[in-house]
Amino acid sequence: MDDPQHPEAVAPERASRLESNGVMLHLHEWGDPKAAPVVLAHGMFDHGRGFDLLAPYLAEHYRVVAIDARGHGDSDWCDSYTWEMDVLDVVNVLRWIDRPAHLVGHSKGGGQVMDAASIAPDRVRQIVNMDGFGPPDDGFFQRPGGPDLTALSWVERCSLYLDRRRRAAARQSWRPYESLEELVARRGQQNPLLPELWLRYFVFHGARQDEDGWRWKSDPQIAAGGFGPFKSEWIAPGWRRLRAPLLALIGSEPDTWGPLPESILAGRLENVKHLQRATVQGCGHFIHMQRPAAAARLMLEFLER
């Protein structure tokens, strides 16, 4: 089968592998290797090729490096996943680049680049966060189509987690889908605002064809979910440590994962010292996929050369 094409997508020009705390990370690159660096971090269940629409705009002026987060894309799977180790991966990419860089993150990647900037301030120039300002106050316990877990106690949630871990011993990989189209339809249900042509391109690069069918490249252990004493109220006060200026982007349309109600978002962003905000019209959570040109324009205006 031919690779799906998209008229505006530009495949990365170079690829690198980088070891970070025992896992190999896959990095995609566009643009002049000598130009000022911009590092891109994607969201949960996405991958670095999700930036194939945005990166070409940035690559006109910068060296663009998109990370496949651990457990995603062509990076290694891990046995366990924590927010902190993901953040350390971003810091290790910054060390590898060995030159202060701009950080751009989407969704989970947006929150993680902010935390990376806060623990490695000397390595970060400016930050762009696309709709990655943490879960609502009651967390992401209510997954779309899933059972309502918000009413459960810590202990009840913990018992469910332990039951899932017991089952995880039996489940080592995704069940195969018969065709790429099935994967595209599945992702389309979760992200109804993404156009079909792009979804096909994006899903193709996040999946692989085995003898018995198509599977996601991302690690099913991530879907099984972790557990721990996380609290939404911990997120924003940590942003008081940020020294780098932040451009906070959201889309104008309500979507599966965002944006947060303005009353919550504005309160959280009050903790950021050097803040600029913008709303991109005509898109939901996936700003860089739905409106890459508009998102890139805002970023290029904000980021110093």
Binding site: D79, M85, R165, P229
Partner: protein, 240 residues
């Protein structure tokens, strides 16, 4: 025997076979089942098992290094499933914290628990240190790496140094007390608070659980607690 936790193979040691209520021993951070020498199991009258948490002893290291207490908790829960009978727990250091979580989450399968001092007892406090508002970053990546390097100096050779991050993670008091309330009454080492620093979570759990301070001869106290919870458990069942 080997147990499979996802893709990680962990070791559950049988220290002593026999009949009666099984004892499950959970070691401190950076230690292993070896810490419970065979002598340690000799005082116990029933079968005794000791787990090597992931990243410790004969268990695999966790690929990618993302260790956290709840991952060790899932290790211990798999041991509980393997033993397949209600257990008595003894945990030291981080093993004590994990024992508290397991005693709350699997209250019907944990007959009694004894929490002892040891590495990993402290944790990273009960809430984030956001009140430290300075222009200098108090922790940072270098701070994290120094912490791992310093903590792991005392670990057993086979330990993955990255397990040290579990001793920096937050243990919020409402979280801890919800497990402590769900668990049957436990025994807390009297040496914590006297010879060793008692972290906030320890005191909170002690009160929420209406726990008993374990005397030096805690074996007798543990025995008393087991028979007490057993009869109380039987009573509460007959009332249902």
């Amino acid at each position: 025997m080997r147990l499979l936790h996802g893709r990680v193979s962990i070791e559950l040691h049988t220290l002593k076979s026999g009949t009666g209520r099984p004892l499950l021993l959970l070691h401190a951070l950076g230690a292993s089942a070896e810490a419970w020498s065979e002598a340690a199991a000799e005082w116990y009258h029933g079968p005794a098992y000791a787990l090597d948490f992931s990243g410790h002893g004969k268990s695999d290291h966790v690929r990618g290094g993302a260790y956290h207490s709840e991952y060790f908790l899932a290790d211990a829960d798999l041991a509980l499933q393997q033993i397949a009978e209600p257990c008595v727990l003894v945990g030291a250091g981080i093993g004590a914290y994990v024992a508290l979580l397991l005693a709350g989450a699997r209250a019907d399968q944990i007959l009694a628990a004894l929490l002892l001092e040891g590495a990993g007892l402290e944790g990273g406090g009960s809430r984030p240190g956001h009140e430290i508002e300075t222009d200098t970053v108090p922790e940072g990546i270098e701070g994290f790496e120094r912490f791992i390097a310093a903590a792991s100096v005392d670990y057993a050779k086979s330990t993955d140094p990255l397990v040290a991050q579990c001793d920096r993670a937050l243990r919020p008091l409402d979280y801890v007390s919800s497990f402590a309330r769900a668990a049957k009454p436990m025994l807390f080492s009297a040496r914590v608070g006297r010879e060793f620093h008692a972290p906030d979570w320890w005191q909170t759990a002690f009160e929420a659980n209406q726990a008993v301070s374990a005397p030096e001869n805690w074996l007798d106290a543990l025995d008393a607690l087991i028979s007490q919870t057993h009869s109380r458990g039987a009573n509460s069942k007959s009332h249902k």
